[in-house]
């Protein structure tokens, strides 16, 4: 099971620009590498990442085979209301992972 790490401020001032960091453990197998018998190892990557802030999408990324194992994504948003940040990773072979953190805006 994949394990995700999130770093987002628990508290922020209204209108403040906040940095959000995410890191998920994933092999990101490209599909181009041969195994010991010479056959390609089947592709197994994360293809999409979505972050929603109180239900509204604020950040989305498409991921491709060239992206290294354990994708680490950092992005910024404006803290405008107290609520929840939801994170979702979607990938090959039905892979999904979700995380959420709360933020208090003063």
């Amino acid at each position: 099971m994949a394990r995700a790490l999130i770093n987002a401020p628990a508290k922020a001032k209204r209108g403040e620009v906040i940095e959000i960091k995410t890191l998920i453990s994933h092999i990101m197998e490209t599909g181009f590498r041969p195994d010991s018998t010479g056959k390609p190892v089947p592709r197994d990557i994360i293809t999409e990442f979505i972050c929603k802030y109180n239900g509204e999408e604020i950040f989305r990324a498409e991921l491709f085979p060239a992206i290294a194992a354990n994708p680490f994504l950092t992005f910024f948003t404006v803290a405008d209301e107290t609520g929840t940040l939801n994170f979702e990773w979607i990938g090959d072979n039905g892979f999904t992972a979700t995380e959420s953190v709360n933020i208090t805006v003063e």
């Binding site: 960091k21 890191l23 194992a69």
Partner: protein, 421 residues
Amino acid sequence: MRRTSRREFLRAAAAGAALLPLPAIAQGASARVVVVGGGFGGATCARFIKRIDPRINVTLVEANRMFIACPYSNTVIAGLRDLAAQQFGYDKLATDQVAVQFSPATGIDPQRRTVTLGNGTEHAYDRLVLSPGIDIRWNALPGYTETAAERMPHAWRAGEQTLLLRRQLEAMEDGGTVVISAPANPFRCPPGPYERASLIAYYLKTKKPKSKLIILDAKDAFSKQRLFENAWKALYPNLEWVSLSKGGKVTSVDVGAMTLVTDFDRHKADVANVIPPQKAGHIADVAAVADRTGWCPIDPASFESKLQPNIHVIGDASIAGAMPKSAFSANAQAKVCAAAVAKLVAGSTPDEPRLINTCYSLVAPDYGISIEGVYRPADGQIKEVEGTAGVSPLDAPNATRALEATFANDWFKTITTEVFG
């Protein structure tokens, strides 16, 4: 007078035609070789050049009268050994007719082929060998300055820093937290952080069993990893390794708060050992033999710099491909370089070398593990000869581990005797 075969004569003539000015011996004078840095690389190289060809004038330049060895210094940190057992002098090199200058090299002029020392003397060379080891890249890890290293020692050059870390561990109360920060590759002694963690964990287990140790790592994989991890599982339940993909990379340190900061967490430490990013020793910059990586690209057969002719770089400072930055590597490279330098000053071509490395690590005083490999030049780099890489067996009886611990000790005695004895 050495007799020269027709083939050697032709080769020397061809080399002489290609290289201007003529090799020193071809001109009838004694060749002059200056070696900067009296560690495992430089001291070996100086001695072996003299051994291969006693006619060559060899000067060894070293800032300190006493060398303090890094291999085995983790046992000093864990209180298992005195630092005195790590110290070696240069008397025997002097009896081998190596002229030893105890002064730092401060200037190098590749055009005039001279080295200037802190004591004001200038030394001309036909070939210069640099074996400067490492320098710390201060502030490459934000907050980690020379002043910070007095609170959070690196202990990655043996000496006062080694003793400082030991004193901090001794002063720590039982129940404290020790945090080690391990850097990204490349760095001196790839298994070193993990041997150190093991021996500190051994110290804590025997002296302060309520304490814990965390390794924060900028990597997901390291040397002898499965051997270390199996041993930790069996011996040290209070040791935790946090890899890069688990958020282990330290991004800054807050010395005042004794805190190591990662992208996802802050770790308060009672004792913090920060093994920082490194680069080739300073003189490599002075000689302009380091590239923008901070390390020195070299020809894999002769260890001649790819950036400056007539200057060779060996040991930790060099970019030696698959060879790890270890004392054993530096010693092996020094012998290859010595043979190459002797050939080059005589106007002939260096042979294609084979190089060996073995690294022992102690997981506990009676628990040793090792890794070894054989290397040769290929495609302009030093590559591992296929099928030569090996590590200790993963499942071995305690007697095997105990035997390897004695091998480690024997190795240290052997290499230090060869280099300084």
